[in-house]
Symmetry: C2
């Protein structure tokens, strides 16, 4: 029996300050000038606080890539056709997508979750391979379809309140099952795939942060100027149709998700909440993943301590989310792909930070003189 959202939120605890203090104390003993590794030191101490272990080890790295379709794609808000969502699922499962390559690079496994793809994913017979040497045994498919995509949010709610709740609970279940089964999870990166999904994300960000729609809407997979302008109008229309204009701004996070969200956004929020409740650090990817973090944060602000922002996306609304939650991105590589790609780079840096804390010699052990 899967946990409810409320049960999960109640299990989220503050950081372990004692572990953090011990981690800082150890950093001072290591053979380097104090604080000379900057963000690497801060990250490792944060992981100590999250895990409760002052010398944490991040062996089991998992990327969860949540996949869903969007009714609003009918409005022409994406440069790519809708069928790309399901086509990319097969690409993930054959190991040919960017997230596969980057997850292999950092030694992470990938869970591809169909939470709302607008087509049946057919695993028998296996999707024809035949292009690249893959052997990507580290990519697993998880069927959690709640609907064949959302409805068009310019005509009414993207989904029912019940489906929005279910999408979050599906994410919780994915994380919890993976925790229990097999080797566990030491750190999770959360990514997305879904043609059209920057549109609901921008809508959510505009409504929650109060920023103008124009400011938080970007080109997604590659809209031109006219396409971008039309996308802004689509979002404004969706906000109006769903009565999410300022004077009605009393919707809770699940209502927001239902009216202008996406199934994969809810799923990612669920993964994040469940990870936090299990003291697992969460590495956010880009814009869509951060929108899910925003939903999770609205449901439970305590999750902030468990979130690590990896890159700053090219999508213009991304910084508004991170500022609203109050977290800083680690780096900016002008990425805007999603899938969890930016999170992989972040996870590798976080893992390195923990190895520093665990593996470096102390001044005493190494016989190195300390600061004068």
């Amino acid at each position: 029996m899967a946990k409810t959202i409320k049960e999960v939120i109640e299990q989220i605890r503050p950081l372990d300050l004692n572990a953090m203090e011990r981690a800082w104390a150890r950093h001072e003993m290591l053979t380097k000038p104090q604080r000379s590794l900057g963000v690497l030191e801060e990250l490792s101490v944060k992981i100590a606080g999250i895990t409760g272990n002052y010398m944490p080890e991040l062996k089991e790295k998992v990327i969860v890539t949540m996949v869903g379709d969007h009714g609003v794609a009918d409005e022409g808000v994406s440069a790519f056709p809708r069928e790309v969502t399901s086509q990319m699922v097969y690409n993930f499962l054959r190991g040919g997508a960017a997230i596969n390559v980057l997850a292999r690079h950092i030694g992470a496994r990938v869970l591809v979750v169909d939470i709302g793809v607008a087509a049946d994913i057919n695993l028998e017979p296996e999707p024809a391979a035949g292009y690249l040497p893959v052997g990507d045994q580290s990519c697993k498919f998880i069927a959690k379809k709640i609907a064949y995509g959302t409805a068009n949010m310019t005509k009414g709610p993207a989904m029912s309140y019940d489906d929005a709740r279910k999408s979050i609970e599906a994410g919780i279940e994915v994380l919890d099952n993976e925790m229990k089964g097999g080797s566990g999870i030491d750190i999770v990166g959360v990514g997305d795939m879904g043609i059209g999904n920057t549109t609901p994300s921008s809508a959510i960000v505009a409504f929650v942060t109060g920023e103008p729609v124009e400011e938080v809407t970007g080109r997604g997979t590659g809209l031109d100027d006219a396409g971008l302008k039309a996308k802004v109008e689509v979002i404004k229309s969706a906000l109006k149709v769903n009565k999410l204009v300022k004077e009605d701004a009393n919707a809770n996070a699940i209502e927001i998700l239902a009216k202008i969200g996406g199934l994969e956004i809810g799923g990612m929020a669920g993964v994040m909440l469940a990870a936090a409740s299990n003291r697992i650090p969460v590495v956010i990817d880009g814009f869509i993943s951060s929108t899910a973090a925003l939903i999770a944060y609205e449901l439970s602000p305590e999750i902030k301590d468990y979130l690590i922002a990896s890159h700053l996306s090219v999508e213009s609304g991304h910084l508004a989310i991170l500022d609203y939650i109050g977290i800083e991105p680690m780096f900016n590589l002008n990425m805007r792909l999603g899938e969890g790609t930016g999170a992989t780079v972040g996870i590798s840096i976080v893992e390195a930070s923990c190895k520093i804390l665990r593996e470096m010699a102390t001044f005493e052990d190494a016989g190195v003189s300390e600061k004068k």
Copy 2:
């Protein structure tokens, strides 16, 4: 017989534009929106141009950590005592330093080069271990000592012109020998260790870029305000004593290195020149490593195409160097340790970028629809 600096510089060729064009063409076929991986795409194309291979593979990753002492340390410009330089060499060889941990993390081997340590490095019997599970077979010691540290540059030149030339040639020899011996080098990160070495670096940067000494001088391993002020005066005095004030600004790079440089700075410059002449990409670390890049650049501006800046250091003079050469750092993690630590993070990102180019599926192979 080692190559001369002139011979090496003559072998540095422009980037292979054909390989770069083919790499861009391949990126457009891969299953992602165009340019959606931002800097990762640009890096991979740069590596294609450097190596002449449009699908480059970076298997053999090498960090060269050049170690030298500095006479100017007598002026109290470092927060750590001078003997730390040689103590850290033993720490490197036992695998306990930050660079060992981070090089292991990315699967790189480390070459520790004594080019000017002010003590004999005694390898027999092996430095007593006994603190950490190390087994760090990937760290190799290379003896290239030119002098027991430099002289105090506030009293006269840090070294003779001949020793400055030799330090660069020693770096060339280290890179060339490692290229020939065994498995080769696909990418090299260049780092430093040497108590006091931010002082000659700031002096070089001030002289070459023309920036005021105050602007390009930082706290090194941890000076307080008074220490920083004194360090600025030491640098000004060294520039004056060595007649490197504006009106005499006709010194060539080897003269500059001799008067106000360091042996490890020359050694790193040599490694960079030799790497470029062998079409090997060079990942710069922080401030000292970038000062070496500045010397290499003054000797041969063509090297710019082979340089990849990893992080932006906390040291205030770092950006002045990168701006002068005209390259941009990939990320800023508030690091200031040296040794090559920041370069490891950079190398891992560059390696990831090349895997994207090699391993991702194309739209055609994966049966994914292209942009509308």
